[in-house]
């Protein structure tokens, strides 16, 4: 290990300039003052071309995701927190304990350094909360107008410390679908934060790491069949993928779906179906019928799962489809979304 760095580096610029991406002193100062200061850990500290880590025993999960949200900060979170939680959640629902992240930043010339610092600080705090280390990173700067402030790509590595195999092939008719909490908070919060709708409301993004919820469900062993975090495309998309891959049907109960009144109202006004709106801190799982009550108890024991509910069940047919029993006593297909969920016009 090299000597710990003691020199305190300061970035004096107020905004990102192309120089910060040129690879010279300005780049190094930015990396040291902002990123190393916030993320500081043994794997990152040497600033080598690769971080070298030792994996604990078990199967390894690897994932990556890019974050391009606008605006960069919204009620309940910001792009930095999202970039950590999103990738942590992808690892967690695969059954892995998240261990390391990498972060690649594309910065737009002119981005205020204070804004960047706030985002990096919230990334570091989110990573610290989960106990993952940001082990490697990269920074590029593009000309003004070529990026929306900044984009972040995170990759994640985690380890599966159990033998439970999760996947659509393990799902059977009769299995139950459980959801850890309310739907559509993130998507609606961001939509409103954009300000073009002239809608106001106290709606917070649900961005949060679901690794502890996932770990609680892994304790069910073979009774846990499948887990997902229903992000882009919402619950409807995640369950349609399950139905298609398993060749089974999923039947939901509309009156069981938890949706905050303010979120439901915003969706009504905009003509958007909350089933298709992104969540960033929820977990949906399929469990065997005999452990469904235990699954709910485990989820509810955690603050993030306090409102966990059973929302439906797996049925043998119609093959590959998601159905919804409406509160009114009818039923309908919950299909894959075509295009963006654009508000209807009349």
């Amino acid at each position: 290990m090299p000597e710990p760095r003691t020199r305190r580096v300061l970035v004096r610029d107020k905004r990102i300039t192309l120089t910060h991406g040129a690879g010279g002193k300005a780049t190094r100062d930015l990396v040291e003052a902002l990123f190393l200061d916030a993320f500081g850990n043994d794997a990152l500290a040497p600033l080598g071309d690769s971080a070298v880590v030792s994996l604990p025993p078990g199967r390894v999960a690897v994932t990556t995701d890019s974050y391009v949200v606008r605006p960069l900060a919204f009620p309940g979170g910001d792009i930095g927190e999202l970039a950590v939680n999103g990738t942590v959640n992808d690892l967690a629902v695969a059954g892995a304990r998240p261990l390391w992240l990498t972060a690649g930043f594309v910065l737009e010339e002119g981005l205020p350094i204070d804004e960047l610092r706030a985002i990096v600080t919230s990334m570091a705090s989110a990573a610290g909360h989960v106990g993952v280390a940001v082990a490697a990173g990269d920074t590029k700067v593009v000309e003004r107008g070529k990026a929306d402030g900044l984009y972040v790509t995170t990759a994640g590595v985690g380890v599966l410390e159990h033998d439970v195999v999760l996947g659509p092939e393990r799902v059977h008719p009769g299995d139950r679908v459980v959801l850890s909490g309310t739907l559509a908070d993130h998507g609606v919060a961001v939509l409103i934060a954009r300000g073009d709708l002239r809608l106001e409301g106290d709606i917070q993004s649900d961005t949060a790491p679901v690794h502890e919820l996932a770990a609680a469900l892994l304790g069910l062993g073979e009774g846990l069949r499948w887990m997902r975090d229903p992000t882009r495309g919402g619950l409807a998309t995640a369950l349609n993928e399950l139905a298609a891959q398993s060749g089974l049907a999923v039947r939901l109960r509309e009156d069981a779906l938890p949706i905050e009144p303010a979120v439901a109202a915003a969706c009504e006004i905009l003509g958007i179906d909350p089933l298709y709106v992104a969540n960033e801190g929820k977990l949906v799982a399929v469990v065997a019928p005999d452990v469904a009550a235990e699954a709910l108890a485990r989820l509810r024991a955690h603050p993030l799962g306090a409102e966990a509910v059973e929302i439906g069940a797996v049925e043998p047919e119609p093959e590959g489809m998601v159905l919804l029993d409406t509160a009114l006593g009818g039923s309908r297909i919950v299909d894959l979304l075509v295009g963006d969920p654009l508000p209807r016009i009349c």
Binding site: D196, L197, D255, P261, A264, A265, E268, D273, P318, M321, L323, L324, D325, T326, A327, L328, G329, G330, S331, R332, I333, D335, V338, G339, D340, L342, P343, R344, I345, C346
Partner: protein
């Protein structure tokens, strides 16, 4: 959610469904057309058809404003969008509608400046903020959305904006209803009248339907309880031997409509000689264009538009679907060559279109309907 939950009460729905079942004669099918795409959407979203006895058959009408825009007009909009220095603003639903040479979304990918807005006033604001660009609003919709376009035009004139125009495609509800009512072998016995259109034109506007064509009308709101109540009202008219216009949507619709909205339309727009409707052909006096004093804002006068008439694809039977002659699945390309992802006909584009609503929400019910009691 206040003002919504009351109209989605399951117990009330069950009691209305029981009432409807008591109002039909076993084996005697009543075909009810809901004219408005918003109704079609609500019917499928809440699975209302399953609450109805087989004797009540819902026919999905032409009231989806996106679905009736002919392909030639989409091509005209694309031509405007591809003009140097021009931004085309429109409602999100129009972006995916196929023209003869692709959609606005594809034009956007080629570099055209197409922006989604929620109101024509947003387009006007865009013009004010970007004085170096010309902003054209692609206006569509029935009398529902025409007042907003009218107010926008009045404001544009008051603000003396010289970089704003409207490509007017506003259509009127009466001509397509007459076209449907005059279809030989009409298969519609009663009408659920549009809700939002009626808030502008008033429920009296439909009196020609009972008076000239002998079909009852109930103007309805959009929540499931409203629709069930409207169906019950139509069935009661039959039992009582009445045939008239009734108004279920009294919380919004007045018999005479909204005089201020109508005045704004009349000040800015006038009927065209005729207008081509997707699936219904050319209908006389069925659409609006800008009046002479607003010529400076009229995209049809400012831009050289191709103005081509493009035949609907031969295989597409949107017209027969829109007039209630066939069910969506009876069209040969439904769900195969024509899907919401790659729509051939416009009925498949908007979630309010009969085919798309049926494809996305209801296609499992087909066996039930096919097995239903025949005529």
């Amino acid at each position: 959610m206040k003002y919504v939950d009351e109209y989605r009460d399951p117990a009330l729905a069950r009691s209305l469904a029981a009432e409807i079942a008591s109002l039909v004669t076993p084996g005697e099918v009543v075909r009810v057309m809901e004219v408005c795409g918003g109704h079609t959407h609500a019917i499928y979203r809440h699975g209302l058809e399953e609450l109805l006895p087989p004797e009540v058959e819902l026919v999905h009408g032409p009231g989806c404003p996106v679905c009736v825009i002919p392909m030639g007009r989409v091509d005209d909009a694309i031509a405007i969008a591809e003009t140097e220095g021009v931004t085309l603003a429109t409602f999100g639903d129009m972006l995916r509608v196929p023209g003869g040479s692709g959609s606005l979304l594809q034009a956007q990918a080629r570099g055209a400046d197409v922006r989604m807005v929620y109101s024509p006033l947003d387009a006007l604001e865009l013009a004010r903020r970007e004085p170096d660009r010309h902003v054209c609003f692609f206006a569509i919709g029935f009398e529902t959305t025409a007042p907003a376009t009218a107010i926008t035009l009045l404001r544009a004139r008051a603000q003396e904006l010289s970089n704003f125009s409207v490509f007017c495609n506003h259509v009127l509800i009466e001509p397509p209803l007459r076209a449907i009512l005059e279809t030989p072998g009409l298969r519609v016995d009663a009408f659920i009248g549009p809700g939002h259109v009626s808030s502008v034109i008033g429920s009296d506007a439909y009196r020609f339907i009972p008076e000239e064509y002998g079909r009852p009308v109930v103007v309805s709101a959009f929540e499931p309880i409203d629709l069930l109540q409207s169906i019950a009202m139509l069935l009661r008219q039959r039992i009582d031997g009445r045939c008239e216009v009734e108004n279920q949507y009294t919380r919004v619709v007045r018999p005479e409509g909204n005089p201020r909205a109508l005045a704004a339309i009349a000040e800015t727009m006038e009927p065209r000689e005729d207008f081509e409707w997707r699936g219904l052909g050319v209908l006389p006096a069925s659409a609006l264009r800008l009046r002479e004093p607003f010529a400076a804002f009229d995209a049809e006068r400012l831009f050289a538009l191709p103005g081509a008439r493009i035949e609907d694809p031969k295989a597409c039977r949107c017209g027969e679907v829109l007039t209630g002659q066939i069910k969506p699945w009876e069209c040969g390309v439904f769900g195969t060559a024509c899907t919401p992802e790659r729509p051939l006909g416009t009925c498949m584009v908007s979630s309010e279109g009969a085919c798309a609503a049926y494809f996305s929400y209801g296609r499992l019910r087909r066996p039930r309907e096919e097995a239903g009691v025949g005529a």
